[in-house]
Amino acid sequence: MAKNVQMKDVDIYYGKFHAVQGVNLSVPPHAVTAFIGPSGCGKSTVLRTINRMHEVIPGARVEGRVELDGEDIYRPGVDPVEVRRAVGMVFQRPNPFPTMSIRDNVVAGLKLQRVRNKAQLNEVTERSLRGANLWNEVKDRLGKPGGSLSGGQQQRLCIARAIAVQPDVLLMDEPCSALDPISTLAIEDLIGKLKQDYTIVIVTHNMQQAARVSDRTGFFNLPAADKPGRLVELDDTEKIFSNPAEKATEDYISGRFG
């Protein structure tokens, strides 16, 4: 069940370092929302607050509200493990588990949560790999190590792994930046298909990619070198790329800086 994500006055810190300031945004379900902006402006940081991965880093903390269908995921008593089951994530570098087979990689989330039913696991494996457009390429070698696949296939394996636990939201942090153009195309196709079932937020440093895959685009920027990053504006992708409201966005899009 795709859910919407809302951020209200969110401030994000690494220890004393104020990384991102005053983010207010709304991410609709069944759509792809892209975050763009110069590197170091806090796109990944914002993304990682949506599944409470930010706090994995020692000293890191978040202020403000982050809501999943209206439910604040930072209110006291919320278990970050439960949040992460609802909000899946795909990383910049494909990170299949090296000690596991392709099949075990896909169902790792279920198996490590004690699902033992063979038939169910097999069904989930096939459904997730089909969902990640990988089934036809690997169906004859599900027992092979996950690391034996190509980079692009590994990334799709990680997507299969993420959707196998049926999250509501799927976060992707520059999922194509370590891949060749053909694998990138395969992942972009996949993103278009996945948005039917999930809320997708993707960070990309590639503006063409944002224009190709996303329905909404948010532009992040650093106002000055030692200031925290900010969300400049978030709007329909078409509008951002044709007629942005802010001068900074237009400068960035037209390649005048960044």
Partner: protein
């Protein structure tokens, strides 16, 4: 222009004269010949001296010729290469010598009966007798020490890498470092004072394995820690992102990824304590007869056996010591082989 001209005359700036392998062989032969003449003409003698002199002559001649023919840069390169190769040989030499010597001396006595009999009622000059009791003792003591040190050390390493932040972690880490340098006799004396004097227990294999545990622990902790540290954070994050709890991530993702290295480290720790003598002197005590029970009474052990037999003023006893030393080396060697095989198996997937 110059390049074309140079190429057409066959002396491009990119091509330098080089010593061919036959000229190097000739230099070597010359060095040996000169050494032979020297040894015949002067009072110099001895095989070791011959090899050393020949080697030095060869290196000097080779470097000089190379400097004349090939230029200074290649000559320096040849000189340094020769020195590095010589040092490598010198480093391996003692190991090979020890091994060769032990095999030569040890095989004289080594036999089926030597491995299956004890020293009970055997006098030092008797040719019979064996090391069955010592093999059993060593296996039991090292086995018990492994059973105690490995889980314990692994948990400490997991704590240090995955959970600790701040003071306690640094404190534990500091003490592990200190323990790494602990002299083994001190570990033995510690168990002797605590277990045997203060608690009034008898000498036993178990007392020895406690001393060995003290010695193994820092090695296991350090090697496991290093291996856990090089597991990429991306794997941990990938696991957390699937909604997997931290401890499950550690047990099912991190540990298996580091397993090959951890197994190797554990095996090296075992190999190291298998040859320990000093801490066993004051805890296990040694015993000519077989004592199967490691929890009560003095036991034998291979290093102790080597130590006591080698000190006897009798040829047969000393030969027994060599044979026991050979068995000890073989056991450690077997452990190393097992470690490699296990590490290979454990890392098959990656």
């Amino acid at each position: 222009m110059t390049l074309v001209g140079a190429a057409s005359t066959g002396s491009s700036a990119l091509i330098r004269a080089r010593l061919s392998s036959w000229s190097l062989a000739a230099i070597a032969a010359g060095a040996v010949a000169v050494t032979a003449v020297l040894f015949a003409a002067t009072p110099m003698q001895g095989r070791v001296a011959f090899v050393l002199v020949a080697a030095v002559l060869y290196v000097v001649a080779q470097t000089t010729v190379s400097a004349l023919v090939e230029g200074r840069r290649r000559a320096k390169d040849r000189l340094v290469t020769s020195i590095v190769v010589a040092c490598s040989c010198a480093a391996v030499l003692p190991l090979v010598a020890v091994l060769g010597f032990t095999i030569a001396k040890g095989t004289a006595v080594l036999s089926g009966s030597f491995l299956t009999h004890t020293m009970r009622g055997v006098a030092e000059q008797d040719a019979n007798g064996g090391i069955y009791q010592a093999i059993i003792g060593t296996l039991e003591q090292v086995g018990l020490a492994t059973l105690m040190a490995v889980p314990f050390g692994l948990l400490v390493a997991i704590y240090l890498v995955e959970y600790s932040s701040g003071r306690l972690g640094r404190f534990v880490s500091f003490f592990v470092d200190v323990m790494t340098g602990l002299p083994s006799i001190v570990a033995g004396l510690f168990i002797f004072a605590l277990w045997i004097l203060a608690l009034g227990q008898s000498f036993s294999g178990f007392a020895g394995s406690m001393a060995l545990t003290v010695l193994m622990l820092p090695t296991v902790v350090r090697s496991a820690e290093e291996m856990l540290k090089i597991v990429p954070d991306g794997l941990r994050e990938g696991s957390y992102a699937l909604g997997i709890q931290k401890w499950v991530t550690v047990v099912r993702i991190v540990l298996p990824s580091a397993l090959a290295g951890i197994v190797t480290g554990v095996m090296l720790a075992i190999a190291r304590v298998t040859g320990e003598t000093a801490p066993l002197l004051v805890t296990v005590f040694g015993n000519p007869a077989l004592n199967f029970n490691p929890f009560s009474g003095a036991q034998a052990s291979l290093p102790l056996f080597v130590f006591s037999e080698a000190g006897l003023p009798n040829e047969t006893a000393v030969n027994r010591a060599w044979a026991a030393a050979l068995v000890l080396i073989l056991i450690v060697l077997a452990l190393n082989v097992v470690a490699r095989v296990l590490a290979r198996l454990a890392s098959v997937r990656s």
